[in-house]
């Protein structure tokens, strides 16, 4: 673009920056972005709150009454699917494919349907229900879509030419969702570029970072600055690989994790059409069966597959950092202890099935947290196979998390940066990066199209074919 700008005469340049900095229009624009991103942050924050609430109160209930899940899960699933299809069409799935799809849509009218305030409200209610039912769902997907909705709607009050800014706003909202959900600002930006936008656009970089910044500040102001999994390197030598043997396990873990992650995505994509058809036919029976299956699983594993899996993953990771675990308040330590007891050698498998079942129904809810948890379980189970290398269990778990996650969503950059930001072990960046990259390559051999992209394409096809969005007519 260099020459375009060089054509601008000095006077034009001057008026340009005066307009950008001092005119009322410009300030209204900033205000709009500001407010939009505050709401995006608040949305993510709300989900954090709901999850914490569910993690405490619901966990206790389920511990007291193990049969509870047999009632709650099917009924809530049926309710969610009913509400979704009846009132909030377009809220289905994790929310990230929807955001991707919104960017791909050409007409702004259809875009309005995917990212409207109504969708945002629906997403809020339905995800809350899902989290309360203690299903195995993460909250990042809904946060992303919420953020994108809020930013997109904020644009209505500004006088920007829509086609120029919309991409940046949607990307920014999505990034803010991830960033605020995990307190991982950098990963949010990378995720928006790598996964949502599928391309690096420098023009939108400013909007992107500003949105993420405001959303993160909102979160930090309320819950304080924290690492999602805890500051692993607290009070000890930073985690890093020093010997050749330790580096040797990187490709092995990457292949295993990438293979399993790619397999998960591929199976999921293969099964979704059948379940969708079954739900169309009779949603009560289908959702009931899936809910009962989830409940049985939870019952059989003594509650290990309940919830997002954050507690289990955290317990496994913090086992290697007693220095940090001691700094936690006593009740949190007790919870970690309990979560640790729930992890059995086949934990990863049960968690994978639970997450799989929920994703099949396409209720609002993400897969980040469950996937991290699956990765952590894998690392825990397979650690004896890697003991020879001299790597600590924590390192193996981290590598498995990143490998599996990168295999599932196929965005390598995001997966290792998000892990860095969640654990704070900056010296471990290189092994993580290498693992993520290799796992991504392996996963691509198994599952050609990335999970989110394939889901987005499905969604686009649905949007174009049926017009469920017109209940008024």
């Amino acid at each position: 673009m260099a020459a375009t700008e060089s054509n601008a005469t000095p006077e034009e340049e001057q008026t340009d920056w005066r307009r950008a900095l001092f005119s009322a229009d410009a300030w209204r624009g900033y205000l709009v972005v500001f407010i939009g991103s505050i709401f995006a942050g608040l949305g993510a924050l709300y989900f954090v709150g709901v999850e914490i609430f569910a993690g405490r109160v619901m966990r206790d209930w389920h511990n007291d009454q193990p049969w509870l899940s047999f009632v709650v899960m099917p009924s809530f699933l049926i309710l969610i699917i009913f509400l979704r299809d009846k009132y909030f069409c377009g809220t289905d799935g994790t929310g990230i494919p929807q955001t991707i799809a919104a960017l791909k849509l050409r007409e702004s009218k259809v875009r309005d349907q995917v990212l409207s305030l109504k969708i945002a409200v629906g997403k809020l209610i339905l995800t809350t229900l899902g989290l309360l039912a203690f299903l195995s769902i993460g909250r990042e997907g809904p946060s992303v879509q919420l953020g994108a909705c809020f930013m997109r709607c904020a644009n209505r009050f500004a006088t920007f030419p829509a086609h120029l800014v919309q991409r940046g706003l949607i990307l920014g909202g999505g990034a803010a969702g991830i960033a605020a959900a995990f307190n991982a600002p950098v990963a949010g930006v990378v995720f928006a570029m790598e996964e949502i936008g599928r391309r690096f656009d420098k023009e939108n970089m400013g909007t992107l970072v500003r949105t993420v910044l405001v959303a993160c500040v909102v979160c930090v102001a309320v819950v304080g600055n924290y690492y999602f999994y805890g500051d692993l390197d607290h009070g000890r030598e930073p985690l890093q690989f020093t010997t050749f043997n330790q580096w040797l396990i990187v490709p092995i873990i990457a292949v295993i994790g990438g293979f399993l992650g790619g397999g998960f995505s591929r199976t999921l994509l293969a099964c979704i059409p059948y379940v969708t058809r079954a739900i169309r036919k009779n949603f009560v029976i289908t959702a009931g069966i899936i809910g009962l299956l989830c409940a049985t699983l939870a019952f059989a594993t003594q509650g290990a597959t309940l919830g997002s899996g954050y507690g289990e993953a955290r317990a496994l990771l913090l086992e290697g950092s007693p220095g940090f675990a001691e700094t936690l308040p006593a009740d949190q330590q007790d919870r970690l202890e309990l979560a640790r007891e729930r992890v059995t050698p086949f934990y990863f498998l049960w968690r994978a099935i639970a997450s799989f079942l929920v994703l099949l129904t396409a209720i609002p809810g993400g897969l980040f947290d469950p996937s991290f948890s699956i990765g952590a379980g894998l690392g825990h189970t397979l650690f004896p196979c890697f003991e020879w290398s001299g790597a600590t269990m924590q390192a193996v778990i981290l590598l498995f998390i990143v490998a599996y996650f990168s295999g599932v969503v196929q965005s390598p950059m995001t997966s290792f940066i998000i892990l860095l930001e969640m654990t704070g072990c900056v010296m471990f960046a290189l092994p993580l990066a290498l693992t993520a990259m290799l796992a991504y390559e392996v996963s691509r051999l198994i599952c050609r199209t990335a999970l989110y992209e394939a889901l987005a394409l499905n969604f686009l096809r649905v949007m174009c074919v049926d017009d469920c969005e017109e209940p008024a007519k």
């Binding site: 260099a2 375009t4 790598e194 656009d201 500040v217």
Partner: protein, 602 residues
């Protein structure tokens, strides 16, 4: 393409790998070589400067004036050597190296000669090692890009693959020079590629990891700058501190870029022979450096920070060992020194000077904050050295964001260089403010302005796009910006004499440079043959102008060209359809088509 013994290998040695796998292997190789080269470059500059310094100090024991003499003249000697070599052997090794890499990537299909890289090494060592105040990152980038491109040429890769190796080398160079793998990746995407695709990512990440590993094995695991800042920071409070730092950095960064460009323009106009200019710059540099040395000596330990790279002084600033006057002096003098050195045509980069200046600026603001607190007692500050250290960090990021204009890299590079994650949100705030301010004050980023000043234009190609979607890209990505125009107020014959490069058609402009139409070469020749003396503007009055706007998609543009049956169309501004921006020709579309279909990268 270079013919060599490698091209004559027996078949069984090359048949084993597919094209993609071979590319990956070459990326690995490039990572190793670039890592080694970057580390070696770092060590040789560091070694040479330290040798010079100790030599001067030991000479001081004999006669006190030996010290200023040696340190004062060394930059001039370096400048003289560099000036002569640049003039005679390696004109490409001038300046930072990042603009050269960009122009090679876009204009020459990424072909960079290894010679250029080698000269970079030698010249950078001489110039910066002898005390001139420029950085080593730009030259490292150019050098490593040359190495990667050379590997591609030797192994006989296709042109697109050679081009794809340039970002790989660039990233590996940055990763090794700064020990900062993440920011290396984002820098390549932000500065060079302008688009993000996972296809390009694979090779880059592998090369970066390997280069960083090489540099860590040799130089150790320590970050480039060591900072001791507590992790428990009161973030909301620091957000407020970031605001003045961001504002100041934005404005000062703009001033720096403007004065650099202005000085460079003046030097270009001057009548001094080209080979002598770096020497003159070096002479001035010596005086400035000595002034800084002696002046800071009045306030404690004298600082050599104005010379060479100067990270030692920056580390001191982090520890809050410098008084405010020292920081102010270092800031001002370093700024002059950098501008003079770069403008006079030396060989060295702008990364580390930017970080240095930013650090000093942040330190000054931090000091202001502390003294404000002492006088009024309104804030509840942590210890003084913590405050100043954190401000230095924020200032580095903010000035980097406003000068180099890579908002995301500026975040990551500070984070990686100091390994300090606690301040990430205030860092973001400061960087975004200064980036926004700077980008509104001056539209063209630094490296592009430098290229423009040299009359070079990037022929942008959306290099890494998949086959299906390239036609949805806007015309602005592929059009020719430096269109050859003809003047409407002159006759065809007059214009034909003026045209140096023959094209099929030309946009016609009036005296004010406003578009009045398009005319074909053969038409003008016909007019000349019939000796038609009317000015073109009158001939064109009746014709309809078929023009495009930069945001038209390539598909739509191609449709217009077909429908209207023309071979080229002028591209005009969206707001004003008389303002010519460039021209879109069939050649542009054809070039694009070929890049897209040749399955770039992996």
């Amino acid at each position: 393409m270079a013919k060599s013994w490698l091209a004559n290998l027996p078949d069984w040695m090359r048949a084993r790998f597919t094209d993609g796998q071979r590319f990956m292997i070459l990326c690995t190789l490039a990572g190793v070589l670039c890592g080694l080269a970057a580390v070696l470059f770092h060590l040789s500059i560091h070694g040479l400067f330290h040798w010079l310094f100790h030599f001067a100090e030991s000479a001081q024991e004999r006669k006190w004036w030996f010290f200023p003499l040696i340190l004062g003249l060394a930059p001039a000697i370096g400048g003289l050597l560099v000036g002569i070599i640049l003039h005679r052997f390696a004109p490409n090794a001038v300046g930072s190296g990042i603009p050269q890499t960009k122009s090679a990537f876009y204009n020459d299909f990424g072909v960079i000669r290894l010679q250029d890289g080698l000269w970079r090494f030698v010249l950078g060592t001489i110039y910066v090692g002898l005390g001139n105040s420029l950085g080593r990152e730009g030259p490292t980038v150019h050098m490593c890009a040359a190495i990667a491109s050379w590997i591609g040429q030797v192994f006989g890769l296709a042109k697109v693959r050679i081009q794809a190796l340039v970002p790989v080398g660039m990233a590996a160079g940055i990763a090794a020079a700064f020990n900062a793998p993440l920011s290396a990746i984002t820098f390549v995407f932000e500065e060079l590629l302008d688009d993000f695709s996972t296809k390009a990512l694979g090779g880059i990440v592998i090369a970066v990891v390997i280069a960083a590993a090489v540099s860590r094995v040799i130089l150790g695991e320590d970050p480039v700058l060591t900072v001791n800042i507590h992790q428990d920071f009161n973030t909301d409070w620091w957000m407020l501190v970031a605001i003045p730092i961001g504002l100041f950095s934005g404005i000062i960064g703009h001033g720096f870029v403007k004065s650099l460009l202005w000085t460079r323009g003046q030097v270009k106009l001057s009548r001094m022979p080209v080979w002598l200019r770096p020497a003159a710059g070096g002479f001035a540099m010596g005086i400035i450096g000595l002034a800084a040395w002696y002046y800071t000596g009045l306030y404690g330990e004298p600082q050599s920070g104005a010379f060479s790279i100067g990270y030692e002084s920056l580390t001191e600033a982090f520890e809050a060992n410098l008084v405010v006057v020292v920081m102010l002096v270092l800031f001002l003098l370093k700024m002059f020194a950098v501008i003079i050195c770069y403008a006079s045509g030396g060989s060295g980069g702008l990364f580390s000077p930017t970080l240095f200046l930013g650090g000093m600026l942040g330190g000054i603001i931090g000091f202001g904050l502390v003294s404000l607190n002492e006088n009024t007692g309104v804030f509840n500050l942590p210890e003084t050295n913590q405050v100043i250290g954190a401000c230095v960090l924020l200032g580095m990021g903010a000035l980097f964001a406003s000068i180099v204009r890579c908002p995301f890299t500026s975040l990551l590079i500070i984070f990686e260089m100091t390994r300090n994650y606690a301040l990430i949100l205030p860092l973001m705030a400061g960087n975004m403010i200064s980036y926004y301010l700077a980008s509104r004050l001056l539209r063209v980023p630094l490296y592009n302005s430098l290229l423009l000043q040299d009359g070079m234009n990037l022929r942008k190609m959306p290099a890494y796009q998949g086959a299906q979607d390239y036609r949805n890209l806007p015309v602005s990505t592929i059009m020719t910006y430096d269109a050859v125009t003809v003047r409407g107020d002159r006759t065809a014959e007059h214009n034909l004499d003026e045209v140096t490069r023959k094209h099929h058609g030309y946009p016609v402009v009036d005296e004010e440079g406003r578009l009045v139409g398009v005319i074909c070469h053969h038409e003008m020749e016909e007019f000349r043959a019939e000796s038609n003396e009317t000015p073109l503007i009158e001939i064109l009055e009746k014709r309809r102008i078929i023009s495009l706007t930069p945001d038209t998609s390539i598909r739509a543009a191609a449709a217009v060209l077909i429908k209207e049956d023309v071979l080229q169309a002028p591209v005009v501004s969206e707001k004003d359809d008389m303002k010519l921006i460039g021209i879109l020709t069939l050649h542009d579309i054809a070039r694009q088509q070929n890049t897209a279909s040749e399955q770039m990268g992996r």
